[in-house]
């Protein structure tokens, strides 16, 4: 009549009634959902259980104790009922029971939710990739523009510089050594100016590069998350939940506000902490 439920069996009971051979594909489908280890359980509600025991006590006493009046029997039955209810409450364990239809409905809902999460993650991934592409294009255009600008202004600057250097040497144009020296100095100066110009371009490009790197790292994380979602879909039967997490409420790095109290002291403190960490992590990496 009543069967104690062990942990493994409880998990099955939570999901649905057991697999019984059914006509057509239904039984096969159920077995697939519940697993071959599912067991049949007969469920008895509390009222029915208490009534049955009460009746059993009445019958037993009536048989054994001949001549016991109905009032005494009712009293014993009431006491038994109250004690039994108290015992059941004390030893009860909450178990969630679901009909097969309800279970399948919930499983379908979960599947839909995870699919929606996967689609959302895919959309996010696509959006990030689009942003990266846009940022790359922007970076390329910026680089070309910077190089062009640098070349244009650089040519004029180079010319002016060369003229000034030549003017200096023309004062001693008669000497042969001066001619050679002039060429060497001009080449050296032009090389040095070009080198400085490249440094400026590189510094200006670094911000774009960092931004693209940030996007790429986020894409890597999102791709990993997408793989996890796929894995979750595969493990639907285990009914694990995917927590999408809570987004940071700070949409940008705040840094120190110029209006903040002690901003100079705090800026120095941040720099000190950073330098100590650079030293530490370089030391660890070496």
């Amino acid at each position: 009549m009543f069967e104690s439920i062990r942990p493994r069996q409880r998990a099955c009971a939570r999901q649905a009634a057991p697999a019984q051979p059914q006509p057509g594909n239904e039984g096969e489908g159920k077995e697939r959902v519940l697993g071959k280890r599912a067991r049949r359980l007969n469920l008895v509600n509390q009222t029915h259980l208490v009534r049955s025991i009460e009746q059993a006590v009445r019958r037993g006493l009536a048989e054994r104790l001949d001549g016991v009046d109905d009032t005494t029997l009712s009293e014993i039955a009431r006491t038994t009922q109250a004690e039994l209810l108290a015992l059941l409450k004390a030893g009860a364990q909450a178990v969630r029971g679901l009909s097969k239809e309800k279970f399948l409905e919930e499983a379908e809902e979960d599947r839909r939710r995870i699919v929606a999460e996967r689609e959302k993650a895919s959309e996010d991934l696509q959006a990030l990739m689009d942003q990266v592409d846009a940022r790359r294009d922007e970076m390329l255009r910026a680089r070309e523009a910077l190089e062009e600008e640098s070349r244009r202004s650089g040519d004029a600057q180079d010319e002016a510089l060369a003229r000034r250097v030549e003017a200096l040497f023309e004062e001693d144009a008669g000497e042969a050594a001066a001619e050679q020296l002039r060429e060497q100095v001009t080449t050296l100066l032009l090389g040095s100016v070009q080198c400085e110009r490249d440094k400026v371009v590189a510094a200006q490009m670094s911000e774009h590069r960092q931004s693209v790197e940030n996007f790429e790292r986020r894409i890597t994380k999102l791709t990993r998350s997408l793989e996890l979602t796929e894995e979750e879909l595969r493990r639907m039967a285990e009914r694990k939940e995917v927590d999408p997490g809570v987004a940071s409420v700070f949409r940008t790095v705040q840094g120190l506000n110029a209006d903040e109290d002690d901003v100079e002291a705090k800026t120095e403190m941040m720099a000190s902490i950073f330098e100590a960490n650079v030293a530490l992590q370089k030391h660890g990496g070496s």
């Binding site: 960092q210 986020r218 809570v246 987004a247 940071s248 790095v253 840094g255 950073f274 330098e275 960490n277």
Partner: protein, 363 residues
């Protein structure tokens, strides 16, 4: 030219204002403690968990527990079925000095603990995670490297800063303040005077929560020799009744004696054990005050911040004040509002105030 100069040249715009950075970053302040690990995140999440990590002892316990690793109070409750690790000792990773017998186990436990703490802060899957972790003021370079190594697997960029400093920074109390941060393994003292505190401004003492537990254990063994108890039971008694006040509720505790629960009055034992940390703390404060500019010593004594999980002992602020008056002439102690999260909140503030380029250069 230093790394800092290079970064400043590239990060700031023409007006010198910090450059805005793309979103998608979650900032974390982590107080990695011997007893508890607390995390405060920029998404509003705050979590604290006991610094315990447990792995099922065998296949049977794994099947029963249905988990490969358990954390915090759950690990503690099921410790009989687990290989239990408390990976931090005196506020630093046990394995970092490589003297611990099972240091590989502690390495793994520390990494798992940090990962779990971060998971509980619910980062989104596409967010980068930047964390500031508070460490004891006098943690050695090996300790610090070990913490960074343990954290690296779970975060995209990490920095360490001194725990008592982060407490003061979080409360915006940067000038002429003494911070007492009482943890389980260590008590950190820090003198703030408007600049970054250096080694001479900080002290780390052993007089902390674990020392109180050890003393209470001694008191119990001496006063209730027939009672049976474990260190964890002693810790629970301290957390429930811990007080140094003269007027204190009776600490009536049931402890088994040959299997039978028996009531013991531990009021005096608890008070004696809790009070053991007061004299060394005040002695440490005295050292920091005595080496400070004499003109500002009085002001320093009047601004003492009490923080950390161990500061929750009832009446501790008053007891420290009384001991300061006795030995140093005066003292005014302010207990911070959230002792469990003081370090993590401060570390999160440091994380926010840190320029983006600094974070990126440490990735």
């Amino acid at each position: 030219m230093t790394d800092l100069d290079l970064l400043e040249n590239t990060e700031q715009g023409n007006d010198g204002a910090p450059a805005a950075v793309e979103n998608g970053v979650l900032y974390l302040g982590i107080d990695l403690g011997t007893s508890r690990t607390s995390v405060t995140a920029s998404n509003g999440e705050r979590v604290t968990l006991a610094s315990y990590v447990g792995y099922p002892k065998d296949v049977v316990s794994r099947k029963l527990l249905k988990k490969d690793v358990l954390f915090g109070d759950e690990a503690l409750q099921k410790r009989l079925s687990l290989n239990l690790f408390r990976p931090l000792s005196k506020g630093v990773l046990k394995f970092s000095e490589q003297e611990e017998a099972d240091y590989e186990g502690n390495v793994k436990a520390a990494k798992d603990l940090i990962r779990e703490a971060i998971r509980l802060a619910k980062p989104r899957s596409d967010e980068l995670v930047y964390a500031v972790i508070g460490v004891p003021a006098e943690a050695s370079i090996n300790n610090r490297e070990a913490i960074i190594e343990a954290a690296r697997e779970s975060v995209d960029s990490v920095m360490l800063c001194s725990e008592p400093f982060s407490v003061a920074y979080g409360l915006d109390m940067l000038d002429d303040v003494l911070v007492i941060d009482i943890g389980a393994g260590t008590t950190d003292l820090c003198r703030m005077h408007g600049t970054m505190p250096d080694e001479s401004d900080q002290l780390t003492l052993d007089a902390a929560g674990d020392a109180v537990d050890a003393k209470l254990e001694e008191e119990l063994a001496a006063n209730c020799p027939e009672a049976q108890f474990t260190r964890q039971m002693v810790k629970n008694i301290k957390e429930r009744f811990g007080s140094v006040s003269e007027r204190i509720d009776q600490a009536l505790v049931m402890l088994p004696v040959e299997g039978k629960p028996t009531q013991f009055d531990l009021t005096d034992a608890v008070r004696t054990a809790c009070h053991t940390i007061v004299p060394p703390i005040v002695e440490g404060l005295g050292k920091l005050i005595a080496t400070f500019d004499p003109e500002f010593q009085e002001r320093l004594k009047g601004r003492v911040l009490l923080a950390g999980g161990g500061s929750q002992i009832q009446g501790l602020d008053k007891a420290i004040e009384a001991e300061m008056r006795r030995t140093l002439g005066s003292g005014d102690v302010i207990r911070i509002e959230e002792p469990m999260y003081g370090g993590a909140n401060g570390a999160l503030k440091v994380a926010h105030d840190m320029p983006a380029a600094y974070w990126e250069s440490l990735r």
